[in-house]
């Protein structure tokens, strides 16, 4: 019961971060700050949701897989952010689509 409540609260917190990141993606003026909103907020949001699901999951392999998913998403989003940012930095004329 306690675990369920903790899990729900954590997942809601994660959803809030995702919402914030999405609003930032839509509202921020340039690509760099949009990237910032997307990577920071979404990684935190996913972290909270993974943590919430850890409280809801039963077995150790599940928990390990959830943690691995979060780490992989961190690796993926941070390097994708670097590649996009670097691409724009190299070609300043294409900064705005």
């Amino acid at each position: 019961m306690i675990f369920d409540i903790v899990s729900i609260i954590l997942c809601l917190a994660g959803a809030l971060f995702f919402l914030g990141g999405t609003v930032g993606l839509l509202r921020f003026p340039d690509t760099y700050s949009r990237l910032h909103a997307l990577t920071k907020a979404d990684n935190l949001g996913l972290g909270f949701i993974v943590l919430g699901l850890v409280f809801a999951s039963a077995t150790l392999p599940e928990i390990i897989k959830l943690g691995l998913i979060w780490l992989l998403a961190l690796v993926g989003s941070s390097s994708a952010c670097y590649f996009i940012g670097n691409y724009i930095y190299q070609m300043p004329s294409q900064e705005e689509e």
């Binding site: 690796v75 390097s79 590649f83």
Partner: protein, 316 residues
């Protein structure tokens, strides 16, 4: 609660499909199409079809997205599509088709078993434990064989169009890109492991040759994107053999059955033999898809930023 989620997914699917059609440019359309593929795999997962969900996420969203983005890059000036102008005449046929499909779905009774009974009866005769893999590799081996043939034909067509005799694309000098190398050093071992895991899983759980092959192909594309020299180090003969191996093993099965005077593609029910065919198919799928993704590239398209390219000799 589940109904709410399903309704959300359904509306998101239709909405995204609409946005793909109405996208202001090709790039936006491709990105939306990838999103559509991911939503579709979510829908398959909700329909308790993890096999199709995996395949849709890997092929429909992942690799097809890469191919479409590569195509965009290869087309000199993508230009803009006039919104909706090209597609409005399609609306009526699409609605008609959707109506017919809905009608045919309504004709299926709620307690209809489909082909489940037939597959369950057949499971006695096969040595595989997982029905989906049994259907793909055993009961309907023809389909899988011909799919491999289609992939192979696509690669051959690419070679003909480009007038090259090697599947391997001309390898680019590696960009001096520390993050790319770091990404490869982390992701590639995981990709190899996950692909192998999916392949091994296919014998008794959702997974199998196509999913594994696509995951490995993603690794190949990643290596190529980062200009890693290992792809170029593979001898061309090895590329050729791996590309045709899956198709060739199925062909051997067919010929062997004909020689034994049995119906085509019937084979001895040895699990090792079926698994060998599946593993060969996964390898061929990986090699063919990698070749498709990298084979059509023009080196000069990527060579614009030559000042920040080094040589990749230190990567290994």
């Amino acid at each position: 609660m589940a109904l709410l989620l399903d309704t959300l997914v359904a509306f998101a699917l239709v909405g995204t499909a609409w946005r793909v059609m109405r996208a202001p440019g090709h790039f936006q359309a491709v990105v939306l199409f990838i999103t559509f593929g991911l939503l579709l795999s979510l829908a398959w997962a909700r329909l308790h079809s993890p096999d199709i969900a995996l395949a849709e996420a890997a092929v429909g969203a992942g690799l097809a997205g890469v191919l479409l983005l590569d195509t965009l890059r290869a087309v000199a000036q993508p230009g803009k599509v006039k919104t909706g102008a090209h597609f409005s005449w399609l609306l009526l046929p699409c609605l008609l088709l959707a109506g017919l499909l809905s009608l045919s779905i309504m004709h299926i009774g709620p307690d209809s078993q489909g082909l489940t009974r037939a597959v369950e009866a057949g499971m006695q005769a096969t040595s595989l434990e997982y029905p989906v893999t049994a259907v793909l590799l055993d009961f309907r081996g023809y389909d899988t064989w011909l799919e491999l043939g289609v992939l192979l034909a696509a690669v051959l067509g690419l070679l003909c169009v480009n007038q090259k005799n090697s599947i391997r694309a001309p390898l680019l000098p590696a960009p001096a890109e520390p993050v790319g190398r770091w990404l490869i050093s982390i992701l590639l071992p995981l990709i190899i492991m996950v692909g192998g895991f999916l392949l091994w899983l296919g014998a008794f759980a959702p997974g199998g040759a196509f999913q594994a092959g696509v995951v490995w192909a993603a690794g190949g594309v990643l290596l190529w994107q980062a200009g890693h020299p290992s792809l170029g180090a593979l001898p061309v003969s090895l590329w050729r053999v791996s590309a045709v191996l899956g198709f060739a093993l199925f062909w051997l099965l067919a010929v062997a059955a004909l020689i034994r005077n049995e119906p085509m593609l019937t084979h001895p029910q040895a699990k090792a033999w079926i698994l060998a065919v599946e593993y060969a198919a996964a390898l061929s799928i990986a090699v063919c898809l990698t070749s498709l993704a990298i084979g059509g590239q023009k080196p000069e398209v990527r060579g614009q930023r030559s000042e920040d390219r080094g040589h990749g000799s230190g990567v290994r």
